[in-house]
Symmetry: C2
Subunit: 205 residues, 2 copies
């Protein structure tokens, strides 16, 4: 069985949906560790309550490069056997850019969710971007993390409609509902080895 | 009642779906003229058969600037009363870039359909772009034409799923089916004055 590490910075609602789905839907993966870059992230308490171990690598005031910070993260992941061979890393609202050293070491082993239909609206404030563009649909994308910004191979995408009354808040809420559905689904596919990566495409079996 | 001009370069399957929908679904617009930039465009015969007048402004060998070419188009549109006040211009596979003079004169009066969920995959070969990106969804967008490339305010978007077996051909076919559905729908909304444009957003009532 694979070991799962989840990185958070805040409440980690996607972390929660993944952890709950593992139990409920019997996803064959061991939730090994939740790591936060902030000691006061609300998600830490939630993880603990759900019986998952937690660690903090405080990023505020960290003396060192991005690669050195990520080395700390990797050493914790390794301690909990979330290795490039036996592990999966999920980013769940982890508000840091990952170093190329980290993404290369865990190639096609780190996944993230982004609140838009990539390649549309990458980066921050995707919901606002979609509204300002006047898009009539948006959604979310679970994807592998590579060294680019929201550019890795896509695993699943879900669509939501945008109507004239939508605000950033209502759109975010609609998208988040879909996030909580497809992120655990992607973890399940990964755990069951149903995702093959070929170039920048994924093939789901 | 508004007057409709449709510009084509080839078979004009979207032209056909619009013209048939006007009759069948009683869209309150007068199909005034179909103009092709190629004398041998197959869509000309189809338009004639459907009882719509046709004209050709041959672009091959046209001596003059893009703006001068478009002036010829505008003079034909005017002849058939497809004016900025009483007209709507639909591009249906019209393989020419429209001059800023033309788009300014017919501001929010020229619409086009693009085979992707804009702003993703603009320009040519959108279906191929989507497949190469590894997108799990794509679709089509009806939008107003401004001076940019596929950048004008969006009226309607429709979504199709992409699966592992899709080729450029199968994806194009799936998207085309949606195009034939939403393009007449957009013409109907326009004809019934149900589209308001505010900045780059459209509000559908």
């Amino acid at each position: 069985m694979l070991n799962l590490g989840i990185l958070i910075s805040g409440r980690g609602s996607n972390m929660e949906s993944i952890l709950k789905s593992i139990k409920k839907k019997k996803i064959p993966i061991n939730p090994a560790i939740v790591i936060s870059n902030k000691h006061n992230a609300k998600g830490l308490k939630i993880a603990k309550k759900l019986g998952v171990k937690i660690e903090v690598v405080e990023s505020k005031g960290f003396k060192g490069t991005r690669a050195e910070y990520d080395k700390e993260i990797v050493s914790i992941l390794t301690k909990y056997r979330v290795t490039p061979k036996k592990g999966l890393v999920c980013l769940a609202g982890f508000m840091r850019i990952i170093s190329p050293e980290f993404t290369k070491k865990y190639k096609n082993r780190i996944i993230n969710i982004h609140p838009s239909l990539l390649p549309a609206f990458p980066g921050l404030d995707s919901q606002k971007q979609a509204l300002e563009y006047g898009a009539k649909v948006s959604g979310c994308s679970v994807h592998f993390v590579d060294s680019g910004m929201d550019t890795g191979p896509i695993i699943i995408q879900a669509v939501v409609k945008i109507n004239g009354k939508d605000t950033e808040e209502t759109l975010s809420k609609k998208i988040l509902k879909e996030e909580h559905r497809i992120y655990p689904e992607a973890v399940n596919l990964f755990a069951r080895k149903k995702i093959k990566v070929s170039g920048r495409k994924t093939i789901i079996s």
